[in-house]
Structure formats: structure tokens, C-alpha cells
């Protein structure tokens, strides 16, 4: 699959999608698919062979997910014509325009790379959220992994006791895909509360004795039912015990942060989630997903953008500033993603779902600073330049993380998979 296909007319493109989707999933005769590699950490040496600008520049990834479909026109791709919307545009520090809803982000736009030419096909929330999270379309027979799980597979765990992936403000929802259950992100539902119940009242020694007893007494049941879900729980118990004994647990506790810094991120769940993400980067967690909900602005867009957009604006700019001040930005990739954009047609005070064009943002690591990649047309209705699929977006992030994009992984069902479903990374975004 190459970018050439995207220049076909809609009918051929659709026929192509149908053919691909109907064919044995993932097993088409694509040229670079050499021998499949078994599950497990691939040799990092293989990755070094394909080095290039930005490759491996991201030791950590913070993936900010705007759930509901963030309107591109009212954020990173403002327009002046009929599709304008309630607010106008302001010129950011880097010289390109952002929506008036994001003044603080505009002030640090010299740190970011905006991608205005994202395009996708799915305009239904659950299905589209799955795509932006995994780079694949949802299927009934297999679950696909998130980027954090991919990274853990190729690079191994990022820390001895802390999880390699964390997700904040949401549950883990099978983030491990077809990788072992322990690759799924540790969910923190409320960043203010952090990691609850991590200290046993009875002391760790008693806990260990009890766990030993559990394993002993439970043995017969586990032998009778060699079930993958039962086995997953065994692994979770092991990992939890390890984590409980870890000194790095304090990374989850926001109370150690100075109050004024907490204020600067904004006291929203998203704001505090971003702050927690920064702490976790420092502690050695490789992949942190932070969710912000409420972007499905069919109505009351102006009010919602003032609120949600405001929370985002404050948190995102604070996060970039904080990471930069600590020298972490050059090794941390901050991603702003959403499942689709919103319609150019601003009617009834809101916009409908619109996957054809939307915006995402990359910042930090080896990504160009103060840069715009791709463009949409005057209305924000079609991609005008350098269209990027979600698969390619994932491949680009995988490239930044130093993952071997062309080395497929064979899932337990025998099929090979790659990050972004064989899409190519957009290397132009790297400096």
C-alpha cells in the first residue's frame, strides 16, 4: 500500500479498500513482507539498519487523545470562508495560524508540528476510536495492540518494576491487543487519586505469604482450566506484587508536585493527567495515553470549545513548557490525536462527524519545530496536500520510537501484523 493509491478517484479507492478488506486479512502479497518473526523482542540491531532523521528520537511517548472527534477548523486548521465557525484565527509564534480558541498553544507553536491532512474513512465513534488507537479497523476475531504494546514487544519493558504503558482517564480496554495481557496499559481513572491501594496495611511480607498460599490452594483450579484469561490474572498478580515493592511507585502521586505547577496545567482531569504523564516519563514509563472527553460537538460548539478547548490549551502548552524546561522534550514525543474531524458546515451551533479531513499534532523528539505538514482546502473539506492515513500516523510515531516498522509480528492466530498496517511513516515531519 503506498501513497500512490490515495490519488485514485473515490470509486477506485473504495474498490481497493473492498478488495483489501475481503482478502485474507494482512496476508496480501506485499513486497516487503519477508519472513515473519515470532513474538518477542526483536534484535534492536535490525532497527539500526534503517536509521534516518528522527528515528529512535523518542524514548517516551505521551499520546493525548481527544475523544469525540476534535474539530480541526476550530483548533489547528482555522478557515476564513463559509466554514469559519464561531471564532477567528490568530497567528502563532511560529508564524502559522491557529484558532482563537487556542491562544496559549499558539504562543508555543514554535514547539509543535501540525498535521492538517489526516484522512480516514470511519465516522462512527467506537469504530473510529479503535482505529486511531490501534491503526487497524476493528474485527470480531482479533484485538490489535496500541503503540505502547508494540514498543514493549520490540524494545522490551522500559522499566524493571513500573509498567511500560499507562493510560489516564480511561480503562485499558485490551490495549495489549494480541500481545500478552501484561502489555496492556495500567489504567489510572483519576489522576488526582493516582494509583490507589498500592500500600498494603498488613505489610508486604504478609501479602507475599498470602499470595504463596493463594497460588498453592488455587493450583487445582488453574490446572483444570488452562484458560488464557485465568493465566492473564496470574500475570497481573505477579506484576502487581512487583510494583508494590517498587520504590518508583511515588511517580503516581501528584501530591508531590508544587501547587502552582498543578495550577498551571489546569485543574481539569485532562490537565492533571498531562502532569501525571510528565512524572511518569521522568520515572521511566515509555508510553502514556491521556484522554480528554467531550469533543463530540454537534451542538453548543462555542461553549464546549471554550471549556474543553480551554482545558486543552492550558494543559498542552503547560506540558510542552514543562517538558522543555526539564530537558525532556527532545526525547519525548507528544502526540495530539482524535478519531475524526468535524464538518466544515457549521449549522445548528455545531458540526457533525467528518473523517475525511482532520488535524493531529506531533511535538518534541526529532520532529520539526514550528512546522505544518500537509494542508486541507479552503473549506477544510478535502485534503489538498500530503494526505496522511491513521496507519501512516502510527508508522510515523513508531519510527520516532525506533521500532522496526517492516518487521512483522506473527499473532497467535498465525497472521503477521505491522505497526500501522504496513503504512509508511511520513519522514518529512522529522528534522
Amino acid at each position: 500500500m503506498s501513497h500512490a493509491f490515495h490519488s485514485f478517484d473515490p470509486q477506485s479507492r473504495r474498490a481497493f479498500v473492498e478488495r483489501c478488506a475481503r482478502a485474507a486479512f494482512g496476508l496480501s502479497i506485499l513486497p516487503f513482507l519477508r519472513g515473519a518473526e515470532a513474538l518477542g523482542a526483536a534484535a534492536p540491531a535490525a532497527a539500526a539498519a534503517v536509521a534516518g532523521p528522527g528515528f529512535g528520537s523518542a524514548k517516551n511517548i505521551i499520546f493525548l487523545q481527544m475523544v469525540g472527534g476534535m474539530s480541526h477548523i476550530d483548533t489547528f486548521d482555522p478557515k476564513t470562508g463559509a466554514s469559519k465557525g464561531p471564532k477567528g484565527a490568530i497567528t502563532g509564534k511560529a508564524g502559522f495560524q491557529l484558532s482563537e480558541f487556542l491562544p496559549k498553544t499558539a504562543a508555543v507553536s514554535d514547539k509543535i508540528c501540525v498535521i492538517r491532512s489526516m484522512t480516514a474513512k470511519v465516522g462512527v465513534h467506537a469504530a473510529a476510536q479503535y482505529v486511531i488507537r490501534t491503526g487497524y479497523e476493528q474485527r470480531g476475531t482479533i484485538k490489535h495492540p496500541m503503540l505502547g504494546a508494540w514498543a514493549q514487544n520490540y524494545l522490551g519493558p522500559s522499566h524493571k518494576t513500573l509498567p511500560s504503558s499507562v493510560c489516564i482517564n480511561r480503562n485499558s480496554d485490551h490495549g495489549n491487543g494480541f500481545f500478552p495481557a501484561t502489555f496492556s496499559p495500567l489504567p489510572i481513572q483519576d489522576p488526582d487519586a493516582g494509583l490507589q491501594n498500592s500500600v498494603p496495611a498488613a505489610g508486604i511480607g504478609t501479602i507475599e505469604k498470602r499470595i504463596e498460599l493463594v497460588n498453592h490452594l488455587d493450583g487445582a483450579f488453574r490446572a483444570r482450566y488452562p484458560d488464557e484469561n485465568v493465566a492473564a490474572y496470574n500475570d497481573f498478580y505477579d506484576n502487581t506484587l512487583t510494583l508494590m515493592k517498587s520504590a518508583d511507585l511515588k511517580a503516581f502521586n501528584l501530591a508531590s508536585e508544587p501547587a502552582n505547577l498543578r495550577e498551571s496545567y489546569g485543574r481539569s482531569k485532562f490537565g492533571q493527567g498531562c502532569l501525571l504523564a510528565r512524572r511518569l516519563v521522568e520515572a521511566g514509563v515509555r508510553f502514556i495515553e491521556v484522554t480528554s472527553g467531550g469533543w463530540d460537538m454537534h451542538a453548543n460548539l462555542e461553549e464546549s470549545m471554550t471549556e474543553r478547548g480551554g482545558d486543552f490549551d492550558q494543559a498542552f502548552s503547560a506540558l510542552l513548557g514543562d517538558l522543555d524546561a526539564r530537558g525532556l522534550l527532545k526525547s519525548t514525543l507528544v502526540v495530539v490525536a482524535t478519531e475524526f474531524g468535524r464538518k466544515p458546515d457549521f449549522s445548528g451551533g455545531g458540526r457533525g462527524h467528518y473523517p475525511k479531513v482532520f488535524s493531529t499534532v506531533l511535538a518534541g523528539a526529532g520532529v520539526k519545530r514550528g512546522y505544518v505538514h500537509g494542508a486541507s482546502d479552503d473549506m477544510g473539506a478535502e485534503v489538498a496536500d500530503k494526505d496522511m492515513t491513521v496507519g501512516s500516523f502510527h508508522a510515523t510515531i513508531g519510527w520516532a520510537a525506533g521500532l522496526p516498522l517492516e518487521t512483522p509480528v506473527v499473532a497467535p492466530n498465525g497472521r503477521p501484523f505491522t505497526i500501522g498496517n504496513k503504512a509508511k511513516p511520513a519522514l518529512e515531519v522529522f528534522a
Binding site: P10, R14, V17, E18, A21, K121, V122, G123, V124, A127, G140, T141, I142, R170, N171, S172, D173, H174, S184, L186, P187, Q189, D190, L195, Q196, N197, S198, A201, T206, I207, K209, R210, L213, V214, L217, D218, F221, R222, Y225, P226, D227, E228, N229, V230, A232, Y233, N234, F236, Y237, T240, M244, G293, H298, A299, K343, G348, G352, P412, N413, G414
Partner: protein
Amino acid sequence: MRAAEKRNVLIRVANAVPSRQRECAPPILTAMLPIRFRTFLTGLAVLTLAAAAVAGQGKKRRLDDAPVAPPTPATPPAEEPAQPAAPAAPPSPWHVWSDGGGRKIEAEYRGLDGNLVLVRARDGSSYRLDLAKLVPADGEFARLMQKTLPPPPVPIATAAAKIDALVLAGLTKAGQQPNAPASDEQLVRRLYLDIVGRIPTAAETAAFVDSKASDKRPKLIDQLLTSEGYNSQMFNWLADMLRITDDYGRGVKTYVYEEWIKDQIAENRPWDGFVHDLMTAEGRLSNSGPVGYLLRDRNMPLDNLSNTVTTFLGANVACAQCHNHPLAPWTQREFFELASFFGATDATAVKANGQAKRLAKKTDVDQKVLIKIMAPNLADVDGLHKNTMTFPKDYKYPDAKPGAAVPPKFIEWAQDETKNTTAPPVPQKPEELRKAFADWLTRKDNPRFATAIANRLWQRVFGLAVQEPVTDLDDLSKGSNPPLLAHLTEEMKRVNFDIREFQRIVFNTQAYQRQASITPDLGKGPYLFPGPLLRRMTAEQAWDSVLTLVVGPELDKFKLRRADEITRMNIPGPVNQESILAKAKEIIEGDGTTGGKKGVSGKGGGKKRMGGVNAEDYDGVPPPRFENLTLARASELPQPAKEAHFLRAFGQSDRQIADTESREGSVPQVLTMMNGEIQRCIASAQSMVLKDAAKQKTPELQVESLYFSFLGRRPTIMETQTARRVFGEGLKLPDLTWVLFNSREFIFIQ
């Protein structure tokens, strides 16, 4: 001709054929009869029939368990006292059936099973005649009868056996074997969890396991299905499907909707009526329950339709909202034509905050009170006089103009091989469109309505649906066992969408009562149900089970009742500034006299403790508390629970997207199990399970008591010896509760 008639009896009819009048009683009334009485009636009918058959003239026939001769006219038919008013007299079921070769039989139509018509002759003998061998007029007559007459009820054992035969056929075809039957211990725990959503107490387990009654299984099933716990469990199941949340945002609370749903479940409202109400409701959230469904997606009618069609029809049509679906047969035009049935419906919630603020400034009335009044009154569903549905402005297909009005049209399933149902007419008046949609959606001939709910109910108790995913039933040949699903569909129709009765049949099958299988690799082939799947408890089952350990089965009496907080805000008549202010005055004065206990204004509001509920929110006796936990069942707690709550850590959905409850593990979940409040609660002084164990005289009996309570079985010798050993090393009973609570055996359902 009777002497010379040949019988085309292919299968012995095992149904008991009761009197005509009993057939006419709708299942909902028979369901209200105590189950035991109904079984007795069937038994009585059977005995009567047996006597009649032996005494009657007619051909020699082998007497099966339930012979088919009707009661003689002298025997008064056993029936319930209350009968619905008889509808207009249906056509007579008597008919002369002829085969091509000149043979005839005069017999009464009794039922139609595929191509076999069940008839009963004047002498009482019953036959199954193959329509293929009869004249065409007979086929027409049979089909007319099927439409106009209700079929005779089928005994539970027969219905269950039919399902078993189909499951077995599926297994045999694939060269597979069914699992061995589950043991009593496994079954009782599974039945309690699946029907009433909690583990059985030690006493309940013992009562079942020790019973020597041969009918103890069907009896337990019936007892559990008619108990309060069933209502609680079904509410949790529906809450995930319908995305039930307490709060629609901006002060709009849905307690009236939630309690309406609970009432429907308690009354065993048939599924078709329930869904019909959701589609056609009108009114406000302050005075009408079912409007909560359309208002769930207020201001987003297309998303709402998408959810409706996916949930209730399993039609994979959501993508068609924006474009022709690449892999399914649905077009964008078809989506809009269906959505057009809601084009004359207005389901909006006007924001109360801004208006309340302005009104508060103007009149000096407390803004909080105004919001509490305005929010539910301004969230309403009502009809418009015009159909406003238009094709979207960016509609790109040549079959319609962008922005043009959309004529409403029902979708048809082209995938189906036989399309023998015709769509109903579309009403001209816009006001009638929504009802027409609701009628079409819920009628028996809708090609998918019965299938979708039957499939979901099967999934609920087997761990997998017959056709996965439940949201895509476009092509019924893709399921793991299409004849089974087709039969389940017919059963759902036969019981007139009584979902409790449907489940009753499923629980009574051998298929359900077999040992559980481990999670299959669906990539290697479909799962054909050699048994139910080994499943982790749902979040609600886990929570409710813990409560059973701590509080005991009394916990069903704690009922959340918050709807009256909302209904007292309802403004009779039109909502305008005067009526709002009048209501505000009434509320403020009312709070003054009651001392503001449930008050809204000022101090009486009541501090919401962590968990979001007060003691006053409960009917009668409030549930006990432990630290920050309110010990009430999941269905009687805030919907959904707060993020940090055990329920959410265990996978209760956030109710933003349908069907997203999770049974996965996670580190925070395990931390909760090991170190959280819930674990301290089980080991606390007030915990019933610990008190019961401590009462026992010897350590062996104490261990046995804990095992019965947690795992529903006796400990093995090894387990008892191990426990004794660790007690010697300093561990105590509370440690053992920790161990059992944190075992896999506890949270998985065998």
C-alpha cells in the same frame, strides 16, 4: 374416510394440548401464575389427556409422556381466573385437509412447524401433515391460521430439548463432543450468578446440593427467576446495552428513566413493548421515564438511530450514516430513509444553566433551585408537524439531491434468501411516523428484532453469542450455528418476547447445564457450545457477591429511589417564566416545612458522601456502610459508579458507548482486591462470612464454612491440611478470607 386415512405422522407429538381458552391466555399472564401451579396444570392436563386417549376411539397409538388428545368436554379446562377480553372471533380452525390422491381428513389446526402442520381430528388423535403433500389451499389455510391463532404452549422440557438437539447437531457436524454435565456445586453457583447476579450463600448452596428432589434444577431456576435478584441483574445487563447514566450533563438527571426501566423489569414487560415505549415516548425527563432513551443522544438524532438499529436489530449500518458501507449492503440513502421516521421528532435538552443564571439575577431566587427545576423540564421529546429530515449537504451519490427532503422508507435485508415479509405502509402524517417505525421495529415479522435479543440473551449466559458480534447480524449464514439461531428466534416469538420465559428455557437446557469450556481460539473455528464458557464475573456480579459475603442475601431489600426528587420538580402545563417561578416558590416553601431533609434549597441539600448517594436516597432502611463504601447492590448505586470505585476498576462500563463492560484484569484492579477497602470490609468485624466461620467449633469446620461461602464447595483434604498448617504459622481466619477472595476460583464462573 377415517378408517382409510393414512397418517403422515413423522414425529410423535409430545405436546400436551390444553383447552382452547388456555392457549389464548397471553404468556405474560401465565408467567404471573406461580410456576408450581402452572406445572401442576400441565400435569393435570397430561393425566386427563392420557385418560382420554386411552378411552378414545381412534388408531392404536403409543402413549408418550405427554399424549396429545385434548381433554374431553366434560373436563373443565384448567385456566387462570383473569382472562383478557376476547378479540373479535377468529376464523374457525376446522378444515378438511386433502392430499393430492383424494384422501381427506377433517381436523382442527393446532400449529405450524416449518412445513408440518399439526392438526387434531374429531376423535382426538393428532397428526403432523406435510404441507408439501397437501393441496395448495391447505397451505394457504395453515398460514392464515398461523397468523390469526396463537400456538399452544410448549412444556419447558420440550422447548429445552429442541435447543439441545440443535446444539448437538452443530457439534456432531463438526465432529465434536458436548462436555460432561456440570456438578451440582458448579451449577448452583453458576445459576445464582447468571440469574440473580450473586454467589449463593453457604446455606443456599447446601440446600441445593443436599436436596434429593429429582426436579431441583428446574425448581431452583424458577425460584431464582421470580426473585428480586433477577431484576437487579437484568438492570445491570440493560444498563450496559442502553448506556444508562444518572446524569445527562448540565443538571439533567435521569432517575425517572432508570426507575421506569426497573419497573418494566419487575413487571416482566415483554421486550417488544419495552422497546416500543422507548421509541414512541413523549414528555419530559421530569415526568416521563422512556423519553430517556431518545434523550440519551439528544441533539444527535442520527447517532441515536444508529444505536437503535445496531442494538435492537444487529444491523451493521452505523457507517452508512456518512457513506455507502464498503462491506455491508447498506447505503447512505437507506440510512437517511430510516432516520426520516424520526424527522418529525424533537428530542432536545435546552441548556438550563444560562437561563437559570439570568432568571436568578432578575428575581433573586436561588440559582441552584432554578437549575434543578429547569433542567429536567427542558429535556423533552415531542412531535413536530413537519418532517424535517433532509439529505446532508455533502451527499455525493446520484440517487438523491443534497438538502432534499427524505421520504421515509423501511430497510430490507437483501442478504436473506427468502424475503417473504412485506414492509408495512408508511403513514402520510408526520406525527404518525415514529409510531410506524416502532411498530415495524418490534413486530414479529421484523427480520431481525427477535433474533437480535435472542442472540444477546444467549451470549449473556453462555459467554458467546450464537452469532458474533451481536452488532452485526446482516448475514445470518455467518453465525456458528444458523439453525440454532433461527430456532431461538422462533422461540422468542413464540413466547411473545417474554425475555424471562426465554431465559427459563435456556437455563433448563442440557447445553447450559454442562461443564464450562475454556476460552477458545476463534481463529481456529467457531465455538459450537459444548458447554458455556468459563467466564470471569462481571463487575456487578463480583461486587454483589462480595456484598453477599459481608451483608448476606438481605441485601435485596436496599432499593435506590431517587425519582421523586425529579418528579416533584415537574411543572404541570407549559414551561415559562411564571410556571418556573411558581414551582420554585413551591419547592422552597416545601423544603422549609420538611426541614430541608430532601431539600434542594440552601442547607437542606444533604452532603453527598463519596459514592454519590445518601441514606435518604434509599427506600426505607438504608444499606449499611463500611468506610466510604455504601453496601448496596450495583443496580442500587450511582450509574455508573465513580471512577475509583471497585465496580469501575472491575470493568463496569462508563456507559459512553454501548456494550463496553470489560472482564479484563489490570494492576489497579488487583491492588483493589489485595489492599482495598473491599478486602478490609470482608475481613472486618461486621462481615457475615467471617462471623459465620468464627461460630464453628473446630478449625476444620471454620475452613469448611469459608470454602462453602466463597467457592460453594467443601475444601479438599489437602486444602484443609494446608489451612491448618498456616494457622499454626500465624495466619488467621481473616487471612484465609483474603486468600479465597484473591483466588482465580472465586472470580471465575465455572
